[in-house]
């Protein structure tokens, strides 16, 4: 079995009277695609935001490569090698596609400000730009490299989010419902890209509420309902789990 890269233990997060995440335990292993599913409001995005440092947790532990990361600011977590996408696209609207991706590489620049002003930071800039270009190609936006981000379609914006996160050379990438709102063609392309990411040795934590997209893609799946984990296992086990069928698939499966 591969080493654990992200370990979540007894994580809880409360919003006022609502317990959004309750005593959650799970782990992500090196280079795997871990799917996290559950109905709307199950606590998936909250979990995700706590790991990324956007929300503070009320209790529990999160460690990345053995180092506790709860309480760290989002930029510190990015620096340690966890990059994320947003459920609603958040491009940098005043920059072309390639520069958006270059921002993703922010933590990987070594040149300090003095070297930017008077030294030779130019070489590093060129080198990082080449890498960013290859990532833009990887997600299939090569022809839109210098386009204004305002001209991108919703689906292209999704892919830009992924390229931007990859530019940070993460060891774990958090994808927040990347499939939502995509056309069937775009879904197929997205699945291909996500497999490609895992093939590069980057672990993927993939939040999704579309089972049909997630189950064929994920190596393992965690199922949440009302903030608590109700199942954890291989996609085939999840498909066969009566608790999951009941809580989540029930009406859905019956309709098919």
């Amino acid at each position: 079995m591969k080493d654990t890269i992200l370990q979540v233990k007894a994580l809880s997060k409360r919003f006022g009277g609502l317990l959004a995440v309750s005593q959650l335990d799970f782990e992500v292993r090196e280079g795997e695609i871990l799917g996290m599913i559950g109905p709307n409001g199950a606590g998936k995005s909250t979990t995700f935001n706590v790991i990324a440092g956007a929300y503070a947790a009320d209790a529990g532990e999160v460690s990345f490569s053995g180092e506790p990361i709860l309480g760290r600011a989002p930029h510190q977590i990015a620096m340690r090698g966890i990059m994320r996408t947003f459920q609603h696209n958040r491009p940098f609207a005043g920059m072309p596609v390639i520069d958006n991706v270059m921002v993703g590489a922010h933590t990987r620049f070594k040149a300090g400000l003095l070297s930017v002003l008077f030294g030779n930071a130019f070489q590093e800039e060129t080198e990082k730009r080449k890498k960013a270009e290859s990532l833009v190609d990887f997600v299939g936006l090569g022809e839109l490299r210098d386009a204004d981000v305002a001209t991108l379609s919703f689906g292209q914006g999704r892919l830009l989010e992924i390229a931007r996160a990859l530019a940070g050379e993460p060891r774990l990438i958090l994808l927040d419902e990347p499939a939502a709102g995509l056309t069937p063609d775009e879904l197929a392309r997205l699945a291909h890209i996500i497999r490609g990411i895992a093939a590069r040795g980057i672990a993927v934590l993939l939040i999704e509420h579309d089972m049909h997209f997630l189950l064929p893609l994920a190596h393992r799946v965690v199922v949440l309902n009302f903030g608590a984990k109700i199942a954890d296992g291989l996609p085939a086990e999840i498909r066969a789990d009566p608790a999951v069928m009941d809580a989540y698939l029930g009406s859905h499966a019956a309709a098919h």
Partner: protein, 306 residues
Amino acid sequence: MNYLRWIGAFLLLAGLPFFLGSYYNDVYRKMLLWVTLALGYNFLFGIGGQVSFSHFAFYGVGAYSIVIFLIQLQLPLPLAILLGIALCVLVALAVAIPSTRLEGFYLALATLALAQLFVVVLNEGGAVTGGTGGLANYRLPEVFGMRIVGPWYTAVIVILLLITFFILLRLDRSWFGRACRAVRDNPEAAAAMGVDVARTKVIAFTLTSALAGVAGMVYAFVDNTVNPPIFGLENAFLILFMVIVGGAGRHAGAVIGAVLLFLLPFVLSPLVGHHHVLVFGLLVLGAILAAPKGLIGFYDSIRKNF
């Protein structure tokens, strides 16, 4: 070669005043200083998205500090310059560190307060600042045994402008410039990409404020007088208008805005007399409404369509 362009720009800009009379040389110098200020403010406001009203006050801090350190206290020039920069950096940090941790609106308020406070300090500063009358009747001491006057001093201003532009251009084309734009466009996404939002804002604010301070030091020997009314709020707003009218976020926009808005009153006042302030205001408003992306944005859209 790249550096040949900079030398060419220097020769052109510094050569011109040798063919101007002393009146036009004075107008030209002040125009160059406005361009320098507008370039710095464009980085802070247009690229960094920080609405600050203290940029012109830092120009004043620089101007007053060089006169106080160099003339009043008789310190050597390099030390006086360093102390002036240090003072600008300290004041900038004192304002930026608390206010950039809050939302953008608070920076605007804090810098507005700073700009007001600065004028009060100047008026109440007694012998140090010369009070309401300011400081006058001083001259730039000889540098290496030379008196730098007339068009030669204009060359100093050109060097200031080009160094400022060089620094801003380098910053803009680096990870730092992108981080500034990212913070302006979407702070949460910037943080998720690993950008330390507060630190980026503080550095951008402090750096551009220090650049304004250095410009102020050069300005102090243009009129050889510094007094409180020069550094009032009117000019703080003018610099904001220059950047907006020219096109926020674009170096060329800052240059165009500064040149046009600086020269406009010279054209207007013979035409409309003392109503020129009103006409000026209407023209600025019209420009902002007609070209929300500034004159440089307007120029781009014309070029795209033809």
